[in-house]
Symmetry: C2
Subunit: 448 residues, 2 copies
Amino acid sequence: MKLKLTEIDGSIIAPQGFKAAGVFCDIKRIGTGAGSEKGAKLDLALIVSEKPASAAGMFTTNQVCAAPVKVCVPRVKKGRAQAIVINSGNANACTGKQGFKDALEMVRFTEQALNLPQGSALVGSTGRIGLGLPMDNVRAGIVEAAVGLGSTTEHAARAAEAIMTSDTRRKEIAVEFQLGGKTVLMGGICKGAGMIQPGMSASGARPAARSLHATMLCFITTDAAIASRALQRALTEAVAGSFNRITVDGDMSTNDTVLVLANGVAGNPALGAARRGRGRGSNDLQVFQGALNHVCLHLAKSIVHDGEGVSRFVTVRVKGAKSSTDADAAARAVANSALVKTSWHGGDPNWGRIIDALGYSPAAIIEEKVDLGYSAPGSRDILWSLRHGQPTRATFKALCAAVVAKEFDLHINLNLGSGSALIYAADLTEEYVAFNKGDVSDPTSLGG
Amino acid sequence: MKLKLTEIDGSIIAPQGFKAAGVFCDIKRIGTGAGSEKGAKLDLALIVSEKPASAAGMFTTNQVCAAPVKVCVPRVKKGRAQAIVINSGNANACTGKQGFKDALEMVRFTEQALNLPQGSALVGSTGRIGLGLPMDNVRAGIVEAAVGLGSTTEHAARAAEAIMTSDTRRKEIAVEFQLGGKTVLMGGICKGAGMIQPGMSASGARPAARSLHATMLCFITTDAAIASRALQRALTEAVAGSFNRITVDGDMSTNDTVLVLANGVAGNPALGAARRGRGRGSNDLQVFQGALNHVCLHLAKSIVHDGEGVSRFVTVRVKGAKSSTDADAAARAVANSALVKTSWHGGDPNWGRIIDALGYSPAAIIEEKVDLGYSAPGSRDILWSLRHGQPTRATFKALCAAVVAKEFDLHINLNLGSGSALIYAADLTEEYVAFNKGDVSDPTSLGG
């Protein structure tokens, strides 16, 4: 089945029946206690559907999870929502009982401001951990955003900007596709930059025997009609292949959240409501899944491209592992190795560091079996550096040319089985360190 | 029992009956193929006992292990050796069958040059992975070193210098203590700097269900009389509390090795030969263990202090974990978090990043139970930043003063059980990145 998607403008307001707003209510300045205003970026966003929508979400599996996550998980489980309020500049994580009350107050105040029933608003936060939210500012921001809601591209852009922290640019996408004879629209915005190696699940519960390690926030809207359980299944699959495949610095955040609202205004025959089968409904679900996968993957990759200090984007492709768990572990060991990441920064095709990381990863590997090579993104034209653990005749110059590209694929074949995995990774630069060491004399410079 | 140790000069030649040498045989230049010589550091060391000695060793548990490790493991198992040859500038790792032959040739040629029986030499290598050793240079170096052997402090210093790679200074120690009425001496040298998170075992086999992540090399000499099995037990315990507790960048090397030679020249009643009991032998073993622990810990810490780009030394002390495995995992998650390490570099007491790392570690934690504080090294006067997950009244200024120190202890109490662990860690600096990205136009700049 070939998926026909057309990319369009407007991100989250592209789908019918959605409005958005982004405002400045001074959370960053107050939150950090600094005296002077720096840039005065927008810091509160509101996304609202004109009708109640099916809702689904994926949340950090960090044992320390932020108050907005605690508030969202049970609400998303009910499968219905109509509004999302998001602040940047303060993560509302590790803020105790007051933090939980503040997150609840954010959704309640949003519901009141929008005249929505109780339980219909969701919340997301990002920023520094451990600081209390300046709730007077937050309430003023919600009122201003509610008054300013609109459905122009400019409204969506302001919402996308309001969720940014160390991001250098907005991350947004919208697509149009056909579903059950109707034109359906789907849009999304996200933020990332640091503390990025998401490992999300629908309940926030940790997958068994798995150690995952981001704040990334993503909000998706669609006018498709789809039952909430089908929407959750689709989102779980889309996140597994996108946000849960990225790493910037290997640190999993307390706040990672992806939320989707599907308001059904497009009028397609509702997905997931019909009986299972290979008929029309099943095919339509595949189309919807394809669109959601596309939106999530585009946004997930944009987080790595705009990661803190990132200068190179590397897709680590492992195959031939004993199991998919092994493949994932091998790819993450390479993608998170400080020595591999610094060599990428230097454009140094240092396969010794890569095979070293494979060797200490939990994945089974046999040195004499490992193939290692490079290609352009998505290309099968691979320049092999190692074959069966032995250097090939590829010259140092040719290998340097492969890894000096701003974006390349690293191919690893362990030749031990059929397990495969890929991870979207980035280099480690002086800029990352300089940004994250902050400046304690200026607390506004201190990141999450 | 109080251990009386006197630190003295001379490192590995302090014990009676040992000689050493360090020479330059141009391995680094040849190894990297670069045209111009840079600094011409010494690159081959020899350590020789005048009598056959008890031998013990600990080796990397990386599945990809270097040829010298493969040669040493079975030799050390036999429990006797008399010489150690070490080269820097080339790891002889991932060098296939030729690499194994070259490592064997190094020990055989050393035995011939010193007129020692077959099987009595051990070998260590460190440097870039994946390059063939320039064996003509290595043989010339061994001959020169054998001729130049001596037992002055200068000889030991040259050996300590010859094993350095990115180290900025020699790492050496020697101690004197009393054992069975005799004066016994013990000395050691080591190197480290990058690719440092050793996880060594006596056989090179991986401990079950454990993922560990240095090239570090360490060579210890003593004139104590001790049976090889007792020596191996003592070394295993000493390494568990020292080299296996350090991390610079979280990358475990293919070459990590600790070797000890005990030649018995001091004439103490041989340790480990007597029946077990609480008598003299057992007490003497404790004294020996104490000395070996002291030597290993001093050298292990010196590796972190001189780690690539390191500006701060942090001892992460976790207690109250559900198990010691949990405590170790929690300490390593914090010690290897890019965000925690960059905040240390900036002197930023960002507890949010620390609790985030605890949350994604495999260790069980409950946010509301975590205590987190700082002290001067080894002090029990702790400035608490968090108590039961809540910020204390400690001011930002006071916390900054604690973490701006060049060396401090980070205390974490999970308050869930009795498991404890400590890890000697370092910050992550722009210098680390700049050094490790290398300069591909000058391959001599490219590290291991």
